[in-house]
Symmetry: C2
Amino acid sequence: MKARKNHHNGIKAVVMGGGTGTFMVLSSLKHFVSDISAVITMADDGGSTGVLRDELGVLPPGDVRQSLVALSSSSEVMRELFNYRFSTGTFNGHSFGNIFLTALEKVTGSFAKAVVTAGEILHITGQVIPVTTDNVRLCVERGDGSIVQGQKMMISSGFFKGEKTRFFLEPKATINPLAKKAILEADLIILGPGNLHSSLIPILLTDGMSETLKEAKGKKIYITNMMTQPGQTENFSVTDFVDEVEKYAGKDAFDYVVYNDKKPAQELLDTYAKEGEKLVSANKKDFEGKNYKAIGENLVSSKIIPPKEGDKIHRPLIRHDGDKLTRLLMKIYFS
Amino acid sequence: MKARKNHHNGIKAVVMGGGTGTFMVLSSLKHFVSDISAVITMADDGGSTGVLRDELGVLPPGDVRQSLVALSSSSEVMRELFNYRFSTGTFNGHSFGNIFLTALEKVTGSFAKAVVTAGEILHITGQVIPVTTDNVRLCVERGDGSIVQGQKMMISSGFFKGEKTRFFLEPKATINPLAKKAILEADLIILGPGNLHSSLIPILLTDGMSETLKEAKGKKIYITNMMTQPGQTENFSVTDFVDEVEKYAGKDAFDYVVYNDKKPAQELLDTYAKEGEKLVSANKKDFEGKNYKAIGENLVSSKIIPPKEGDKIHRPLIRHDGDKLTRLLMKIYFS
């Protein structure tokens, strides 16, 4: 942990990730800091995003869209519109916001400009920054030396705890200078929660990211997931998550590791168990001798989030509570 | 012509139609009036609009979109975005603005609300009003008694000068109260230019429209097309256009008929002739004894408009000049 610079104008925060975890952190944290930047993963190639990338050659809009909505102070209608997903016909499965960013990239000629313009239209607080503007795919070299490219392929092939894997981007990606600047100026640098392999590792794999994190003087906090995913983070404990992050971000890249230590309701755990998903285990002994400080708290949302139309698995969700998490982040910041 | 009410706050204008003709009038006229309403045709069922109607059950967005862009004071990027048309993949042929209005209708639950919200997002001057919010299709009973429904079918079957046709809407449509109010309050009421059968007649066929026009105290002006269309307005003269309009709007519904009396460049006419499209003829003798005042002027745009990617027929265009037309409309207003 390095000395932080003085600041008199509130807190500058960077949130790195993509998907619903980052949406939740941004939605809550934006009320407590004076400057917030979302540094967003750019390796998604599944679903609506994947079709748009394949057919129109654009950069992946899905994760950026969610972060734009999280930081938007537009009317509820506009935010709903951006997240609206067509459920019939030609557009079936496509999110309107993804189509919006795709058309805007075509009109402005660059994804970076499209994101800035969309931010203006959505009246966002802070900024959304693609971690790279290079057009990359996530690949993994599996234990047997075979290489799998793309998220769809990874999900269908699966890889398991114990299997030695090496993730990489194809072609190489260089860090967006705006992302580098935001991280270097930030007082708080937060990674996750999010899908470890498809969201977080592609960020850490971006050329220049591990050096930037090393140089950054803000407090660096990794928020681990609450639930494991079969075939990806099967049976992972908190330290397994951290080990995987450090493999790509560099040893001791994060000062703090935040995890949930509260068991959600058994009925919820049972529905997750059916899909092979378990609570991430934490053993305090595992943290002994580590250079990071591990902090376990009750971070479970007590709201029962009803399943939505279009959810792959129809069940109530176990989710982080944005307010509890933000309170913990602030406590760490002011400690 | 009835006495106009006094007004001290500039001119209130209503422009009725859809498509590029109405786009042109709105784009120019908006700078000369203090209050402008676009009353838009709602019977389109071709192209991108037709697919969206068929697959998602929404009202036709295409003509409304063009009018929104015409009245928008948003950035050039936003206006371009709305008119952006995808040219490959799943979205091929779809206009982004159409997708926008469709998603917004789904989110807000009504097309009328979607149009108002889109108007706010695009920072429009004045208002865009669907002539009806009933979900209708245009039908025609041909000379032999057969009935053809929908624009695509009409274009492929064609009907000809001399053939006795009767157009109607299926089911019936009732005039949007906002359209009625705008027309009754307007100082200038303008119809066209636009496709006679697919754009203008569906407006006139709306229940309550001919009564509203009769009651309206503003100057009523019909702007005829410059070129005929084969199978639709084949060999039509200016008076043929007016006769067809009066058949649906009521006798003497319009006080003025405006037409172009300048021959465009012969090379342009030749490219149109290849498609069976001719200059609309005007014989001053035909206007004798009519209750409307016919005014012919040079209204041809001297700009050569280059063909665009995606145009059905690849050729330079013969178009009205918005400024010339607006100057004539103002001259009529102040006469």
